[in-house]
């Protein structure tokens, strides 16, 4: 765990402690379990986004993909009586395919990732709305897929704590992603391509493939998150479902230390970023803050957290240099950051 992750964790603990102090119900098992459930769903597609951000790209179509694939998934199992295992596989495959298309357009045709995925954002949202004729897709009353529901939206009691399966899924995915990013050769390549694509090519890395792979992973994970979210809401209004979720994902990744210039970011950070965002949502409801202030509270807490972090970093640096101890790395960081 690096320093940035640590200070994020401290921020979460401080916010949590303050909320728990004002309203102890924050710590109730039920509430924690609900919040964790949200963390699970949002964390998965935030990790997806992080993969793309690390290679220096961006994926804006997350929310629209969640809407489109969610609609398709429900449609498959409710209206077309497709076996849910098959439907699940089909949806994940669709997500992978979307990722492959994005990656190919970016690398082979050379279109800016922002443009490619902005078009994705528009097209998939439109497709979802057109497909359902703007009607809400849902399970209807009493429709039931016990096994699927239990797997995706259920909770398992562990030492008296109802652990949501979504968070178990997030845990598994995060561990795998961590190993891939921080321990495997492929992860190295992701960081290398994100930092300096030309140098990566000079080192014999097939940077095109690495970029495509990142988008494919992102697509697959987003599809999986889409299914979890669909099973959670059990109904999808294609016009609004998942809109703005790409911002959540990017925010979580950036809070977690990813730089939009590529080549930076840690999985632990992204998960912690998601936790922070979800705790903030929870806080607004628990403290009875008017829901109109929801966004404002979120923004303010993030800003204060980041400011405090910067302040501490600068104080520490000043303290060490005054004492004559060699200063921390990244002397240029505070200045260079302005260009980040």
């Amino acid at each position: 765990m690096n320093k940035k992750d640590l200070s994020l964790l401290v921020l979460i603990l401080v916010v949590g402690a303050v909320v728990a102090f004002i309203n102890p119900r924050f710590l109730y098992v039920g509430n924690l379990s609900n919040t964790l459930n949200q963390v699970g769903m949002f964390g998965i597609f935030s990790i997806a986004e992080a993969f793309v951000i690390i290679i220096g790209g961006i994926e804006l179509s997350v929310g629209s993909v969640i809407a489109l694939l969610g609609v398709l998934f429900i449609d498959l199992i409710v209206n077309h009586d497709v076996n849910w295992v098959l439907a699940l596989a089909m949806i994940i495959a669709a997500g992978l395919a979307i990722g492959a298309v994005h990656g190919t357009l970016v690398t082979k045709i050379g279109i800016q990732p922002f443009v490619v995925t902005l078009c994705g954002l528009l097209i998939y949202r439109g497709a979802a709305r057109y497909y359902t004729e703007d009607a809400t897709a849902g399970f209807g009353f009493g429709a039931s897929f016990p096994m699927l529901e239990w797997l995706t939206a259920g909770r398992t009691n562990i030492l008296g704590f109802p652990l949501p399966h979504s968070v178990i899924a997030l845990f598994v995915i995060a561990v795998i992603a961590w190993v891939v990013l921080h321990r495997s050769v492929f992860g190295r390549y992701l960081y290398a391509v994100g930092k300096n694509e030309e140098a990566a090519r000079y080192s014999g890395i097939r940077s095109g493939r690495v970029v495509i792979a990142a988008y494919v992973i992102c697509g697959g994970l987003t599809a999986f998150a889409a299914i979890l979210i669909a099973m959670y809401t059990r109904s999808i209004s294609p016009a609004v479902h998942g809109s703005f979720y790409e911002l959540y994902a990017i925010a979580a990744a950036v809070l977690g230390g990813c730089s939009l210039r590529g080549g930076e970011g840690s999985i632990v950070g992204v998960v912690l970023g998601t936790v922070l965002l979800q705790v903030l949502q929870n806080l607004v409801n628990l403290l009875g803050i008017p829901s109109s202030l929801n966004f404002a509270v979120m923004g303010t807490v993030i800003l204060i957290g980041v400011l405090a972090d910067q302040y501490l970093v600068q104080r520490r640096r000043r303290a060490t240099t005054a004492k004559g101890v060699p200063q921390a790395s990244g002397a240029g960081a505070s200045v260079g950051a302005s260009a980040e």
């Binding site: 809400t136 849902g138 009493g142 809401t233 209004s237 409801n285 628990l286 109109s292």
Partner: protein, 295 residues
């Protein structure tokens, strides 16, 4: 040849299921109005500017009549007048009484709220704390419904302590219910002001095993809401009749263009009353809905 037909457009205030029912009504009217091309238009965002733009474009494209559910009728008056000066304009869903619209057809949200309030009084004879859930708490329809509820329960032991908004994000809608359940263990009734809010309440209470212990009062006719009513776990729901708006509105517009203005009363207001659906009449209602949507 379709281009030769006169276009009548029904511009709604945002995409939702609710307007699907109106669309069924429009479709029925289309069947009876072969000389007209009836269109239902969804603006891509529930914002006044977007809707205005859409109407400008429709006028530019030569629409013969527009029936609009204005996003913000109070402040859109001027623009509505501009549209009314170039084509036939009806309002629906929420009226713009000061505008030059020819007629309003729809229900009164305050009345619907009052209906819901009455239902709450009946469901909670001993009073209790209630929390409402809504998409956009600032929107007029939401305000009027909330007003209606508050007016009716005033003086009783029932209290509407909070109304949580969710920006029409279903994930947040569900999460709001979960959070309220955690924050207020003594809540005794929940009100879903928008059509999707009630099913989300139902699901959360079901997962928490609180069905029956916490009363649910809903608006609109989401299938899950109706299922819950039928099951007895939702006290009841107040529905509007958008089908009638779509059907009657289109017919009236066509008639008006054709020269028959008798359908429009002097004040221009045609109220289609809401309906309270509870366990007693839910089966009938579901059957009639099914019949309506089939056509």
């Amino acid at each position: 040849q379709a281009a030769d037909k006169k276009v009548l457009a029904f511009v709604v205030n945002g995409a939702s299921d609710f307007w699907k029912i109106a669309e069924a009504g429009v479709k029925k009217a289309q069947g009876e109005l072969p000389n007209y091309d009836l269109q239902l238009k969804y603006p891509e965002q529930a914002a006044a500017a977007v809707q205005q733009r859409m109407m400008d474009d429709l006028v530019a494209a030569g629409a013969a009549g527009i029936m609009v559910s204005a996003v913000d009728p109070k402040n859109q008056t001027e623009h509505l007048n501009k549209v009314a000066s170039q084509t036939l304009l009806f309002t629906t869903d929420s009226d713009a009484p000061n505008s030059k619209r020819i007629a309003y057809i729809g229900s009164s949200n305050t009345e619907l709220g009052k209906d819901a309030g009455k239902m709450m009084l009946k469901a909670l004879p001993n009073g209790g704390k209630c929390v409402g859930f809504v998409g956009l708490p600032g929107a007029d329809n939401a305000r009027e419904r909330i007003e209606g509820v508050k007016e009716t329960i005033k003086g009783s032991k029932i209290e509407l302590v909070d109304v949580r908004g969710d920006e029409i994000d279903q994930t947040r809608a569900k999460r709001n219910v979960e959070d309220i359940l955690a924050a207020m263990p003594d809540v005794s009734c929940m009100v879903g002001f928008y059509s999707y809010n009630t099913p989300r309440i139902y699901e959360v209470l079901k997962e928490a095993g609180k069905l029956g212990k916490i009363q649910i009062i809903g608006f609109d006719e989401d299938p899950i809401t109706l299922g819950g009513v039928k099951e007895g776990s939702i006290a009841g729901t107040v529905v509007q009749q958008p089908y009638e708006w779509g059907y009657q509105g289109m017919k009236l517009m066509a008639a008006y263009i054709g020269g028959n203005k008798s359908g429009v009363p002097a004040n221009g207001i045609i109220i289609v009353p809401g309906k309270v659906i509870d366990k007693s009449n839910v089966d009938d209602f579901m059957a009639s809905m099914k019949a309506m949507l089939k056509k």
